[in-house]
Symmetry: C2
Subunit: 262 residues, 2 copies
C-alpha cells in the first residue's frame, strides 16, 4: 500500500514525467518489492513504481530471465529470485563483520533471552541487518532489512557519532524527528545525544519507538573511531537498572570482539 512512497524515498521525487533510465526503474522495482515484502502483480508493480506498464513488463521479463526475480506461485506475481539470494550470500561471505556479527547476535539473544539486533547505516538510513528474537511472550517484531528513522533509535545515535553537524543534518529529515507517538524531537537535542553517545560508548533510549521497550546499543568499529555497525538489545522498559547495566556490559564485550582496532 502507501502508493509511491518507496519511490519518493529512493528516487528523490522526480517530478518530471520524462523518460527514465531502465536501470533506475529496476532499482525502484527492487526497492519497492523490499518494502512490500510480498509477491506482487506486474500491473500493480507498474503502478507502485510509477512506471509505464509496457516498460515494466519488459524489465520484469529481463529480471526474471536473469533470475533476479521469480514468478511467484499463483502465476502472475513477481518477487525476489534465487540469484539475489546467491549474491546476498556472496556478500556475507566477503564481509567478516556481518558474518561474525550475525553469530554474535544469535548467541546474544539465546544467552539473554532478549531480542538482539545488528544494525548498520544503509544509504543514510538506519537498517536492521540481522535480528534474533528473544524468548519473551510478546516478541518485538522487527524484520531484517527494516529501515527506521535514525532519531528513533539508540543505534542511530551511535552510528552518527563522529560525523559533522552538517552531515547529520543532511541525513535527518524533519519527518524523521517526529516520533511514532507524535512527539517531536529537537534537532539540537538529537545532536547532543549523538555527541554524548560517542563519548560514553553506548546508548540507551526508552520508549522512543514504542512505549513498552527500551533499546540498549553499543558501537562496532571497523577502524579506530569509525562506527561501522551497532549491536543492540530490545528489552522491556521496566528492566531494572542493574540488569540494564549488566546487559550493556555484555554487549560491550561482544561488540569489542567484532571491532577492529576499536
Amino acid at each position: 500500500m502507501q502508493d509511491g512512497n518507496a519511490l519518493a524515498v529512493s528516487a528523490d521525487e522526480k517530478t518530471t514525467a520524462s523518460r527514465e533510465k531502465g536501470l533506475n526503474r529496476v532499482l525502484e522495482i527492487l526497492d519497492f518489492l523490499h518494502t512490500t515484502q510480498r509477491a506482487i502483480g506486474i500491473g500493480d508493480l507498474a503502478k507502485g513504481v510509477n512506471a509505464p506498464r509496457s516498460t515494466t513488463y519488459t524489465l520484469v521479463r529481463s529480471l526474471v530471465d536473469a533470475g533476479l526475480l521469480e514468478m511467484a506461485g499463483d502465476g502472475n506475481r513477481v518477487y525476489f529470485g534465487k540469484k539475489l539470494y546467491l549474491y546476498g550470500m556472496d556478500y556475507v561471505r566477503g564481509n567478516d563483520l556481518l558474518r561474525r556479527g550475525r553469530q554474535e547476535v544469535d548467541h546474544l539473544s539465546r544467552e539473554t533471552g532478549e531480542t538482539s539486533e545488528l544494525c548498520m547505516l544503509q544509504s543514510g538510513r538506519y537498517t536492521i541487518v540481522h535480528s534474533s528474537p528473544g524468548t519473551r511472550p510478546f516478541r518485538i517484531s522487527s524484520a531484517t532489512g527494516l529501515q527506521i528513522p535514525l532519531p528513533w533509535t539508540a543505534s542511530g545515535r551511535l552510528l552518527l557519532a563522529g560525523l559533522e553537524r552538517a552531515e547529520i543534518e543532511a541525513m535527518v529529515s524533519e519527518d524523521d524527528l517526529v516520533l511514532p507517538d507524535g512527539r517531536k524531537l529537537r534537532l539540537d537535542d538529537f545532536i547532543a545525544d549523538i555527541a554524548k553517545a560517542g563519548v560514553t560508548g553506548y546508548c540507551v533510549t526508552s520508549g522512543l519507538v514504542d512505549a513498552y521497550t527500551k533499546c540498549l546499543a553499543v558501537p562496532v568499529f571497523s577502524a579506530p573511531g569509525k562506527v561501522e555497525a551497532t549491536m543492540c538489545l530490545v528489552v522491556p522498559i521496566d528492566t531494572s537498572e542493574e540488569r540494564t547495566g549488566s546487559l550493556i556490559g555484555l554487549l560491550r564485550d561482544r561488540a569489542g570482539r567484532l571491532s577492529i582496532g576499536g
Copy 2:
C-alpha cells in the same frame, strides 16, 4: 580469470559488437562478481565483462549509489553490497522451501557428520543453494552458489526427472557431459539415469566429480511430481552399503518433510 566466459554463459554469446543495454551490462557485472567471488577493480571489471570503460564507470556508480555494490576496503575495488544481502534475506523469508531446507541441511550434517547440501536448478544449471560442511578431516569444499554441470551430479539426475528428452538436451551441452577426469558420458546413458532416478526416488553417483566421494541425493517436491530441489550428502566413496542405505533413508525422511504433496 577465464575472461568473458561468464558473459558467454549468461548473455548468449553476443558476437555483434554493437551497443548493449545498460541493464544487461549490469546483469553481466553481477554474474561476473559472482564467479570471481572477490572485490575487483573497475578497470578489470570492464575487461571482464567486455564493456567499455566509460560505461562501466557510470553503471558501477549507479549501483554503488543504490547500495547493490560497495567499494571494497582498499578504495578502488567493488563487490556486492549490503542491499543485495537484504534482498537475499527477503527471498529467504518469502520462500518456505529454502528456509526450511536450510535448517534441514544444517541439522542433517550435524546429525551425520557428513557434508550436506540443498540444490536447485538455477537458470538451467545445477546450483548448490546451501551447504553445511561435515566433520570429516578432509572437507569437501563446495561453496554456496557454485554451479556445476548437471551430468556430474546425483542431484542433477533427480532435478531433471519428469522432463521431456528435448528439454533435457537443451539444458545439457556437450561440455557438460565431459567429467572432470576427462571421461565422456553418453547422453543416452545420462537420460536413462534420469528416468531411473525418477522411479526409484533417489540417486547415488560414485566418483563423478572426484574419485574419493560419492553423492547421495533425494528429491524435494513442490507439487506432486514436480522436483523443486534436492537434498544430498557427500560421503567417502568407500562408505559401506548399509551405511549408505541408512543415510538414504534419513535423507528421504527429511526431504519428505520439506515436500508438498510429494
